[in-house]
Amino acid sequence: MDKIKLATVWLDGCSGCHMSFLDMDEQLLALADAITLVYSPLVDFKEFPPDVDVTLVEGAVSSEEDLHKIQMIRQRTKLLVSLGDCAITGNVPSMRNPFGPEAILERAYLEDGLINPVIPTVNVPPLLKTVQPVHTVVPVDVFVPGCPPPAGVIYEAVAALTEGRTPNLHGLTRFGK
């Protein structure tokens, strides 16, 4: 059987989902036989390759960069997996939504008694008006809730996809797990 090409990306999140992924411990070895990791913050590939089989997305869509990235990834991926609550619900990043990005930037960069209070504009992507779950901007095929999803659940999801099954996570995880 051909190995499936797996990518993982990190949008607006805390990297906890990636940590949980690594927490799979010896199950990683089992996965390694079935996948080739072609793009990930865990490895050093610069370009997101075309024709990826499965992409795990951690994090919400918060900035214009996130938006462009996820749209590009969607085009190059057969199955897109929203991994964790940030990708699925917006979670903690979306807590700024009722206030708007300006208020948040002011609070973080101007009001907190910094030595040089200025809102950064160079080399940082502009924030979107509201933080969005991934599936509101591109179609998502599989949802793996949890904050972070337990390692075993991630394993089950990825393993199922490598075997061509639809993952059945009912009862294994939930929002906030």
Partner: protein, 236 residues
């Protein structure tokens, strides 16, 4: 009290109960779970969350199991693909209405909304989030109210008026603007009616009402006091 024993069928199983019982009560007695959020044994029935809707053969529409008494020969179905879809839809709407960030909520892991969603197999919310900007009232010495987590089940309103007798809580506003207020929409901490008994906190199904000092996922709520109080009242 005069009541007769009636026999009916729930999910194809023949069951019997007193005719002053509701479908929900009889189902629970027989180990049949029906999803619910506003219902709580010991409090009056409001039929507001609509999760306990069931199919009754011959009825014009769906029936709220919590608010409907059983009758002889009733044929009740508590679970079907249609009901499951409606329940998922209602739960999704509740998630989209307020602002439920499970990962940082005091009730994470002990939240009835979260549990119901997990049971219903909800793994994402398809409807747009409404992102309301609701208040957090931390003025009370012991407790707090985060209205973003409120699902308007009105258990707090009922326990406060029916069990504690303080009538601190009520509902203000209409439609999507409806919300819980203490006294005349004054801060909870300044309430002249609140006895600080904490019953509202215990019956609240989510983290909307919480105990100060409880951290994420620490707040486990206990509603068993209700059955003690109601049992003692009945004996008196």
């Amino acid at each position: 009290m005069n009541s007769n024993v009636v026999t009916l069928s729930i999910n194809g199983k023949e069951v019997s109960g007193r005719d002053d019982e509701t479908i929900l009560e009889l189902a629970l007695e027989n180990g049949i779970q029906i999803p619910r959020l506003c219902y709580l044994e010991g409090l009056s029935i409001v039929g507001a969350c609509r999760l306990c809707m069931v199919e009754v053969l011959g009825a014009k529409g769906l029936i709220a199991a919590c608010a409907t008494r059983i009758t002889e020969g009733m044929v009740v179905q508590t679970d079907s693909e249609r009901l499951a879809e409606y329940r998922r839809s209602i739960l999704e709407m509740l998630f989209a209405e307020g602002f439920h960030v499970c990962s940082v909520c005091v009730a994470n892991g002990h939240c009835e909304l979260q549990t119901q969603a997990a049971h219903a197999g909800i793994d994402h919310i398809d409807l747009p989030y409404l992102y309301p900007r609701r208040k957090v009232d931390a003025s009370h010495r012991l407790f707090g109210l985060d209205a973003n987590r409120c699902i308007l089940c009105t258990r707090c309103v009922r326990v406060c008026s029916e069990i504690e007798g303080a009538r601190t809580w009520s509902v203000s506003g209409r439609g999507i603007e409806a919300h819980i207020i203490s006294d005349f929409a004054t801060p909870w901490g300044e309430s002249t009616t609140c006895t600080s008994c904490g019953k509202c906190v215990q019956v609240c199904p989510t983290g909307a009402l919480f105990m100060k000092g409880a951290s994420t996922a620490e707040l486990e709520k206990r509603t068993d006091f209700l059955s003690w109080i109601t049992a003692m009242r009945e004996q008196r």
